[in-house]
């Protein structure tokens, strides 16, 4: 069998889920025996490749760039995994949603605290505009599996990937299904 192509993506999240992935320590070597990481913050690929087998998405969909990227990823990926609470529920990234739109968030971040030339960042084509509402992954694209946790502990990630690599539909239960 061909080696599996795995991608990881970091959207609106704190990178904690990726840290937790690195906490897999030596099991990462086991993973490397069967799979290649073809895209993500841990490798230097500019373009999301075609025909990816598994993509772990950390973070919520928070700006227009995320939306476009997710549409592309969904098209090019066989199994899409919402990786960690921000991707699954919006979590901390979505704490701003009750404010109703992006404007009050930007004002709070860039105008209120500034005492020298307050201005909102405006670089079309460089800084992607924020969405008015942060979306959990499944509100943007159909998601195949959910791996909750903030962050998901390394053991939980391992249990999940092991089932996936064995060709089974991962089915987390009990304490492995805890949010937070």
């Amino acid at each position: 069998m061909d080696r599996l192509k795995i991608a990881t993506v970091w959207l609106g999240g704190c990178s904690g889920c990726h840290m937790s992935l690195l906490d897999l320590d030596e099991w990462l070597f086991e993973l490397a025996k069967v799979a290649d990481v073809v895209y993500g913050p841990l490798v230097d690929t500019k373009e999301y490749p075609a025909a990816v087998d598994v993509c772990l998405v950390e973070g919520a969909v928070a700006n227009t760039e995320h939306v476009e990227l997710m549409h592309q990823i969904r098209q090019r990926t066989r199994v899409l995994v919402a990786f960690g609470d921000c991707a699954v529920t919006g979590n901390v990234t979505a704490l701003r949603n009750p404010l109703g739109s992006a404007a009050p968030v930007l004002e709070r971040a860039y105008l209120d605290p500034a005492n020298l030339r307050p201005a909102l960042p405006h670089e079309p084509g460089v800084v992607p505009p924020l969405l008015d509402r942060v979306l959990p992954l499944q509100e943007a694209v159909p998601v195949d599996f959910f791996l909750p946790g903030c962050p998901p502990p390394a053991d939980r990630i391992k249990a999940f990937l092991q089932e996936l690599l064995a060709g089974k539909a991962p089915h987390l239960t009990g304490a492995n299904l805890r949010f937070g």
Binding site: D53, H71, R78, P142, L164, G167, A169
Partner: protein
């Protein structure tokens, strides 16, 4: 009060009738189109023409054809005038002496009137609702007297059972069975409640009965109280019906003065007190357990049944709760006999039903028809069909708990079972006609918005599920919903209907389900494609299901 006095009042009243009676509708519909000013102008015109001795101007309850109000009827010769303005008064009064008037005449022989059958509304439009003598003149309170003097409570229950009367509040529960359940409980304290909360949007049947003929409801309740052994009653009316409330207050005061309410009704050992409780206009307070909580002074929220009110109701005591129209059917049943009533209607739905006919029909207003009449007869023949030659698309019955019956099923007889089979309900009597311009998804959204706003918030599926269903319907209408969203909507309908605590939640999905059943294509036409759609569907991992 004894029988002889009752008869004396009736005779005095009949003797006092002047040769000409001009009846002038003072129910809510006509009042909202200056009916009161018309009545006053007519009074004045009679005075000016010095016709006081010959002509009586009488404010009466609903005369049915609300869309043409204010309505005035002059008898003799029996002419109905429509859209009367105060300045028309002089010419109308002039017709009594052979004058002419340009005021538009109605057609009393039009099917809208001719096909009605009046039992509940038999006095409505003829009688001054603020005078107990007027009610007595039309044989009012005769049934109570006969019941108290000549029948045992068990006989009364059996009469109601044999009449086949079913609850007019929506669910159609057999009234006799409910009465006998309460009657059989052995509690020393029992209550009778009249449900006049009428919260369905667009419904005004109960309101018309209360405004046009309040004593009839009182009489029905007194008979019920005697039959089940209650000595205290409450009428729960919504605060939005100030006229109904004031007429009820007047009626109760008059009945007390004549010894028809209070201790020793009709000089018998039977006591019955009646009080009004005013609701603050929450739809859910029409649900019986929420209503009772509200009467007790608590937050109007339903509680799980059993126990049913008949075993443990108001203040924990056995309680009979019926709708306004149900009580209004009781006096004529006891006056004319169960067999008479049971001969009207269909096999399992007896008697008549009052509907508030509205929407895309020429003649809107209040109608009372025998059960079993078809929808087509009602909306085409009586209602006159869609104005300007449009096509009927569907008829909505049962309000937010009901469904839309498509034109193809217009020959369905209006009875509890037939409407139920089509995914709708008889409901309390709202009937809205829709034409080709009406968007069925929008109709479903309208009712869902109503349920969402009126959910009491106690149970999760109704409180949170209606919010989600409403959001999905809005997305559909904005053409942003995908096939996945539609599947979600159907899943929610199933959840909310099967897991909600009370009837509001259980029936909230009905407008969606019935429009999905008969007008699914309208939903499909609104679907947006998935924005992410892959060129070829993603293949599963080897071994992945």
């Amino acid at each position: 009060m004894v029988l002889a006095e009752l008869i004396a009042i009736k005779e005095r009243e009949l003797a006092a009738r002047k040769p000409v009676v001009i009846t002038c509708c003072l129910a809510a519909g006509c009042l909202s189109s200056a009916g009161q000013a018309v009545k006053e102008a007519l009074d004045q015109a009679v005075k000016t023409a010095s016709l006081d001795a010959e002509v009586e101007v009488r404010g009466v309850g609903c005369m049915r054809l609300c869309c043409e109000g204010p309505l005035v009827f002059i008898d003799p010769p029996g002419t109905l005038y429509q859209q009367v303005k105060p300045e028309d008064a002089a010419s109308l009064v002039g017709t009594v002496r052979g004058g002419t008037t340009h005021v538009a005449r109605g057609e009393p022989n039009h099917p809208f009137f001719a096909r009605q059958m009046s039992i509940v509304l038999e006095n409505s439009g003829f009688m001054d609702p603020e005078r107990i003598e007027a009610y007595i003149a039309r044989d009012g309170y005769l049934a109570v007297r006969n019941v108290l003097r000549e029948m045992t409570p068990a006989e009364v229950v059996s009469e109601i059972t044999r009449s086949g009367l079913r609850g007019r509040g929506g669910a159609g529960y057999p009234t006799g069975l409910k009465w006998s359940t309460v009657a059989k409980t052995s509690s020393a304290k029992k209550y009778v409640i009249c449900n006049a909360d009428e919260g369905d949007p667009g419904a005004f049947m109960d309101r018309s009965v209360l405004e046009s003929d309040p004593h009839r409801v009182l009489e029905g309740m007194i008979i019920a109280a005697y039959a089940v052994g209650a000595d205290q009653g409450y009428i729960y009316v919504r605060a939005e019906y100030p006229l109904a409330i004031s007429r009820l207050q007047t009626a109760i005061r008059q009945a007390k003065q004549l010894g028809l309410l209070g201790s020793g009704v009709f000089e018998s050992p039977f006591n019955f007190n009646l009080d009004i409780r005013i609701g603050a206009g929450a739809f859910v307070c029409g649900e019986e357990t929420a209503l009772m909580a509200s009467v007790e002074g608590r937050r109007g929220q339903p509680r799980p049944r059993p126990p049913f009110p008949a075993e443990s109701g108001l203040f924990g005591q056995p309680t009979l709760i019926n709708n306004v129209e149900t009580f209004a059917c009781v006096p004529p049943i006891l006056r004319r006999g169960a067999e008479w009533f049971a001969a009207i209607g269909t096999e399992r739905s007896k008697g008549t039903k009052v509907f508030a006919l509205a929407g895309k029909v020429k003649h809107t207003g209040l109608i009372e028809v025998p059960m079993g009449m078809t929808l087509r007869e009602i909306v085409q023949d009586m209602g006159g069909g869609v104005p300007d030659g449009g096509q009927i698309k569907a008829v909505q019955t049962g309000g937010p708990s009901g469904g839309c019956i498509p034109a193809a099923h217009l020959d369905t007889p209006v009875d509890y079972e037939s409407l139920g089979r089509l995914g709708s309900i008889m409901g309390s009597g709202g009937m809205i006609v829709m034409d080709q311009q009406d968007n069925m998804v929008d109709v479903a959204r309208f009712f869902m918005e109503f349920c969402k706003d009126e959910s009491c918030g106690k149970c999760v599926p109704c409180r949170a599920g209606t919010v989600q269903m409403h959001a999905l319907l809005c997305r559909l209408l904005a053409r942003q919903a995908t096939a996945r969203d539609l599947a979600k909507l159907e899943e929610l309908c199933d959840l909310v209907r099967n897991t909600s605590l009370c009837g509001l939640g259980i029936t909230a999905p009905n407008p969606v389900l019935s429009t999905l059943r008969f007008f699914r294509q309208e939903y499909l036409d609104l679907l947006a494609p998935e924005p992410w759609k892959p060129a070829t569907p993603p293949a599963p991992l080897p071994g992945l299901g």
